[in-house]
Every structure is written in structure tokens, then in C-alpha cells.
């Protein structure tokens, strides 16, 4: 009898533990989700409701006023969006073209000074971007590229973190698989693209996602690297939405912000499973 009682108390304790941990999880989740929620509902409020005290948790009247004034603000919002999309897609494409062969070489091939070359990559990974602004600016302006999108693309075309992470992922693939592909008359490019990449899809998605967020949200880099509005991304346009003379129009600003953030959320929702897998290797035992 005593034994059974013990089990029941143990179960109760376990249940209490689960409940407490679930409550904590929900609290943390709310803390993360609430700003996004607030941004979205503010975007759909009228101006007067957006500054009303006390604030409302749901718009009393759903309104597109924020979005309308974003597009009527005199800023070429679609032009900024186009810049953001072009820059982001180009950077990711360029990064993959550079990173995959580099990571493959570091992971699976031996060549002279490999250790030194890889430690240079790690050093690049550790240097803060802020240190490089001026020298990169002088370099690209020397190339006559300041009045184009190139300064936002080329300097970011190689990502040390990506090379590092992809190399780790490639290294987990047994050498025998590569050797087996060589015996199957596969070329090095084929080994990379047809054998290794499909096995490291998750790592690839994760790296691309990090780059996507970084470049899509970039503010300071494009601010320094551009002189004309026509080459600036959406992040800089949102900043300019605050420049209204009558104080900050919160619904307009949040509408602009939502244009910036929603694509990231959509991409993340589709990629989240792969991203989580990216940190755990699933090979054939």
C-alpha cells in the first residue's frame, strides 16, 4: 500500500512540475509575441485610437489608414522594397556560391596551409563589422560603385559564420560517402551539389535564414554605403516615416514596420523545422 501511495505523490509532484514549466513557457512566449501583436494591431488602428489612453487591445474600428498614409507619405515605398528584395536575394545567392565550395574544401579536402586559411576565416568571424565600415566604404567608392546597390551586396558576399557552420555540417558526413562517390566517378562539383548539400539541407536553410534576417533588417550598413534615396532599402524608409512634423504617427509607422517584418515571419514559419534540424545531425546509422 505504502508503495502505491508513494507513486501517487510522485505523480502529483510531476504534474505540478509540468504545470509550472508550462506556465513559464507561455509567459516567455507572450513576452516575445506581444510586440509583434502590438505592431500589427496598431497598424490597423486609426491615428486617434493609436494614441488613445488607455490603449485598446483590439482596434475598435479596423482601419487601413496606416497603410494608406505609408504609401502616400511621398516616399517611394515600392522602390525601397525592391531594393531590399534585390539586395537580400543577391547576398544570399552570392554567399551560397562562395560558402559551399569553401566549406567543402575546409571539411573534406587537404591542401597546403588549410589550417592557416581556416583560422583566417575564424578571425574574420570575430572582427566586428563596425570596424570595417570606413575601409570598405573607401574601397567601393574607389571602384565607383557608391551610386549602385553593389556596396550593399559585394562586401557581404562571404559570411565567415556561414563557412564555419557549413564546414561543421560537412565534417559530420563520413569520409566513406565522399570516397564512395569518387569511386562512382562523381566530380567534385557533383559530390558537393548532389551528395553533400542534400545531406546538409538544414544547415543551409539555417545559414540562409540568418543571412536573410541580417540583410533584410540591415540599417547602419546601407545608411553608410548609400548617398541617394533611390538605392536605399526599406529599413531606411521606415525611419523616415518618423520624420512627420506633427509628431510620430504610430499607425503609419507600425504599418511600415509590418511591411518589413511580415516577410521574415512568413519565411521563418516555413523554414523553422529545417532550422531546428540544422542543429542536430540526422545521418543514416
Amino acid at each position: 500500500m505504502q508503495k502505491i501511495n508513494l507513486t501517487v505523490t510522485d505523480r502529483k509532484k510531476e504534474l505540478v512540475g509540468t504545470v509550472i514549466s508550462d506556465i513559464l513557457k507561455i509567459a516567455v512566449m507572450l513576452a516575445f509575441v506581444f510586440p509583434f501583436y502590438w505592431m500589427l494591431i496598431t497598424a490597423f488602428k486609426t491615428y486617434s485610437e493609436s494614441v488613445a489612453v488607455p490603449p485598446t487591445l483590439l482596434p475598435s474600428q479596423w482601419s487601413l489608414e496606416g497603410y494608406v498614409s505609408t504609401f502616400n507619405s511621398g516616399l517611394n515605398i515600392l522602390g525601397y522594397m525592391r531594393n531590399t528584395v534585390v539586395v537580400t536575394v543577391s547576398v544570399i545567392a552570392l554567399q551560397l556560391i562562395v560558402m559551399v565550395p569553401a566549406a567543402y574544401a575546409f571539411a573534406k579536402r587537404t591542401f597546403p596551409l588549410r589550417g592557416l586559411a581556416f583560422s583566417l576565416v575564424l578571425v574574420a568571424f570575430m572582427i566586428p563589422q563596425q570596424l570595417t565600415y570606413i575601409s570598405v566604404y573607401i574601397m567601393v567608392s574607389g571602384w565607383g560603385m557608391i551610386n549602385s546597390l553593389w556596396p550593399q551586396i559585394l562586401p557581404l558576399g562571404c559570411d565567415a559564420f556561414g563557412i564555419f557552420m557549413l564546414r561543421q555540417s560537412f565534417k559530420q558526413i563520413p569520409d566513406e560517402i565522399v570516397e564512395s562517390a569518387r569511386l562512382d566517378s562523381a566530380s567534385e562539383v557533383q559530390i558537393m551539389v548532389q551528395i553533400m548539400l542534400p545531406m546538409c539541407k538544414s544547415a543551409m536553410v539555417t545559414i540562409a535564414m540568418f543571412s536573410f534576417i541580417g540583410v533584410w533588417n540591415a540599417y547602419f550598413w546601407p545608411l553608410v554605403m548609400t548617398r541617394k534615396e533611390e538605392f536605399r532599402p526599406l529599413t531606411l524608409a521606415i525611419e523616415r516615416l518618423r520624420d512627420a512634423e506633427v509628431g510620430i504617427r504610430w499607425n503609419t509607422l507600425m504599418a511600415g514596420n509590418s511591411l518589413l517584418v511580415v516577410p521574415i515571419l512568413v519565411v521563418f514559419i516555413f523554414a523553422s523545422k529545417k532550422i531546428i534540424e540544422g542543429f542536430t545531425y540526422r545521418g543514416v546509422k
Binding site: 563520413p174 566513406e176 560517402i177 570516397e179 564512395s180 562517390a181 569518387r182 569511386l183 562512382d184 566517378s185 562523381a186 566530380s187 557533383q190 548532389q194 551528395i195 542534400p198 545531406m199 545521418g283 543514416v284
Partner: protein, 350 residues
């Protein structure tokens, strides 16, 4: 069909010498097994033939032609790896097809070959499966099909059965043997398991520390071991090796011992002893016997009537006795040579 020859090959990993100046010819169409403990250099030799771990110096010849500079994919060989090394993101069909595609085999021919070989390894119904949905034995079969479909001149196998359970391993041994008889190509098979080597090989190449200890048929290696190492590596349990007073060694197989409860008549090597342990294996029983000299020997006979702690006599007929010289090399076999006759006589219990 191909004969393979190693000429003065050496292999270093950094400053670590694995193989030095090794010469070996692997005969055309034979099932050759490279056997030895781990780190003896057997896999290194196999990788030299495959071209995925080239020799530091020396030549590897295939049908008399130096292939040291030929890319692995152009050597007309196929290899089966210990961990199978099948492509996990491809289906069974794609795994078998990958090499054919790269060799530009036309699609119709490819389909015909995949059909034929997937039936041979009994995987035809699983062609659209991914490797993760298959058992270890099935993965092994894909690896085999992938190797066979290339119709290579040489099959290389690196411990292909060691990840399988004992029962499957035994049946795959027989299948591989049958496969060899059917294909009649050169097989080079690496294993650390002497039972595998004995049961499958036409020719065994016994290696230790990067050196070849003996090359011969299983019968030769079992009955005429070249040295103490060969005598103790092959056979379960290994040959009993007894130190002789003059520094030579005497050896006899656990299977060639005669057991009696009473003192035996006649000549031959005979010792008193006491049974320490007894293992009933079915058809045979294995005893560990502590001799009057204090040394323990193994005995394997059909008779299971003897019990632990029982005093017994062991007798070995002269023709079953092996003698090894001071450096461990096989010296003579059968009746004791003149030089040793007296010493051997003095070792007997009376």
C-alpha cells in the same frame, strides 16, 4: 578480371610508418582475404587499390599496368565499405544508378541493370525506399548491388559484415561466397575476423604491423603456420604454444589433443594436468587445462564427459607437434628434429 600487384609500397601518415616496402600479388579471379588485427595495414592496402588512399611510395599495378595515377572512378573497381556509405538522401534506385549515370550509361541500359541487380540482392521491391527506412542487412545489400552493377574487374570489401548481427553475418558469408563463384572476378576482402577469413578465402594474406606474415590457402595457414603469430591468429582457440627449455617453442592445436583419465600408453608428448574450466559448445567441448608445469593450455574435443577439477592426461601425437625457432619462425613439423628430440623427451611427465 584483374591481377593486382603491389611493388615496394610504403605508406606513412605523417611520420607514422604503417607499411614499408611491401610486395604482394593478388591473383586474378581469386577470393583473397587480407586479415590481421586492427592497425595492421590491411585497410590501407585496400584503399591503395581503390585509389582513395594512395601509397606514399611504390607502385600499384593492375594487370601489369601502373594505376597509381589513375582516378578512383576510372579504375574499374568497386568497393563496399564497413558502414556501407550509401547516399542517405537518395532512394535505393538512385543509389544504384548514381555511378551508372556518371559513367554515361544510357537510360534503358541503366534500368535493365538496376532491375537485374536489385533482383539478385533481393531488393527489387524496395527500389523506391530511402536508406533510413531499411535495416542494416538491406543497406548492406544496396551497397553490394551498387558495387555489382558496375561490373568491376575487382571487388574491394572493407569489413562489410562487421555491422551485422551474428546470424545475418553467417548467411551473408555464404551469399558472398556464392556471388564470387557466380561472378568469377577478383575479390579482395578485408577483415579482422579469422573465422571469416578461413571460411571465405581462396587465399589468406595474414598481416601484422604492416608486414605480411604469411600468404596461403586456409589449409596451408592452419596446418603449416609460418610463425608463432600465424599459429596463434588462426584457429579458435589459438594454437597452444609451450616454451621449451632451450628457448625454442613447441605448438599444438587444441583440436589435436587426446584426453585420457589414466596415464596413456605409447609415445608422443604427454602431460599431466587438471581441468580448470569446461565449455560445452554442442558438437565439441572446450577445456582449459592447467599442466603440471603450471602453464594453461586449451583443449577442444568431441568428448564432453570430463568435468572441472578432474585430473587428466593429455597426449599429442608427434605428427601434430610444431616447433618454432628462437625468432618465432616455424622450424619443423611432425616428429621432433634431432636437435630437439632430447628436450622434448624431457618435457614429458612420467
Amino acid at each position: 578480371m584483374a591481377q593486382i600487384e603491389f611493388r615496394n609500397v610504403s605508406k606513412y601518415f605523417g611520420s607514422n610508418k604503417v607499411i614499408e616496402n611491401l610486395n604482394l600479388t593478388i591473383e586474378d579471379g581469386k577470393f583473397t582475404v587480407l586479415v590481421g588485427s586492427s592497425g595492421c595495414g590491411k585497410t590501407t592496402l585496400l584503399r591503395m587499390i581503390a585509389g582513395i588512399g594512395p601509397a606514399t611510395s611504390g607502385q600499384v599495378l593492375m594487370n601489369g599496368k601502373d594505376i597509381s595515377e589513375v582516378a578512383p572512378g576510372k579504375r574499374d573497381i568497386a568497393m563496399v565499405f564497413q558502414n556501407y556509405a550509401i547516399y542517405p538522401t537518395m532512394t535505393v534506385r538512385e543509389n544504384i544508378e548514381f555511378g551508372l549515370k556518371n559513367r554515361k550509361v544510357p537510360k534503358e541500359e541503366r534500368n535493365r541493370l538496376i532491375d537485374e541487380y536489385s533482383r539478385i540482392v533481393d531488393m527489387y521491391n524496395l527500389l523506391s525506399r530511402k536508406p533510413s527506412q531499411l535495416s542494416g542487412g538491406q543497406r548492406q545489400r544496396i551497397a553490394l548491388a551498387r558495387a555489382m552493377v558496375k561490373k568491376p574487374a575487382v571487388f574491394l570489401m572493407d569489413e562489410p559484415l562487421s555491422n551485422l548481427d551474428a546470424k545475418l553475418r553467417a548467411s551473408m558469408r555464404i551469399e558472398l561466397k556464392e556471388l564470387h563463384q557466380k561472378l568469377k572476378t577478383t575479390f579482395v576482402y578485408v577483415t579482422h575476423d579469422q573465422v571469416e577469413a578461413m571460411s571465405m578465402a581462396d587465399i589468406i594474406v595474414l598481416m601484422e604491423k604492416g608486414e605480411i606474415q604469411q600468404v596461403g590457402t586456409p589449409e596451408e595457414i592452419y596446418h603449416e603456420p609460418a610463425n608463432v603469430f600465424a599459429a596463434q591468429f588462426i584457429g579458435t582457440p589459438p594454437m597452444n604454444i609451450i616454451d621449451m627449455p632451450n628457448g625454442y617453442k613447441m605448438g599444438y592445436r587444441p583440436e589435436s589433443v587426446v584426453f585420457t583419465a589414466e596415464k596413456p600408453a605409447g609415445d608422443g608428448y604427454r602431460k599431466k594436468g587438471r581441468i580448470v574450466t569446461r565449455e560445452m559448445l554442442g558438437a565439441e567441448t572446450q577445456y582449459k587445462v592447467e599442466l603440471s608445469s603450471g602453464q594453461a593450455v586449451m583443449v577442444k574435443i568431441a568428448d564432453s564427459r570430463f568435468r572441472e577439477k578432474q585430473d587428466v592426461w593429455i597426449t599429442v601425437e608427434p605428427e601434430h607437434l610444431h616447433y618454432f625457432d628462437l625468432s618465432g619462425v616455424h622450424y619443423s613439423h611432425g616428429g621432433a628434429p634431432e636437435l630437439l628430440a632430447e628436450v622434448v623427451g624431457g618435457m614429458n611427465d612420467v
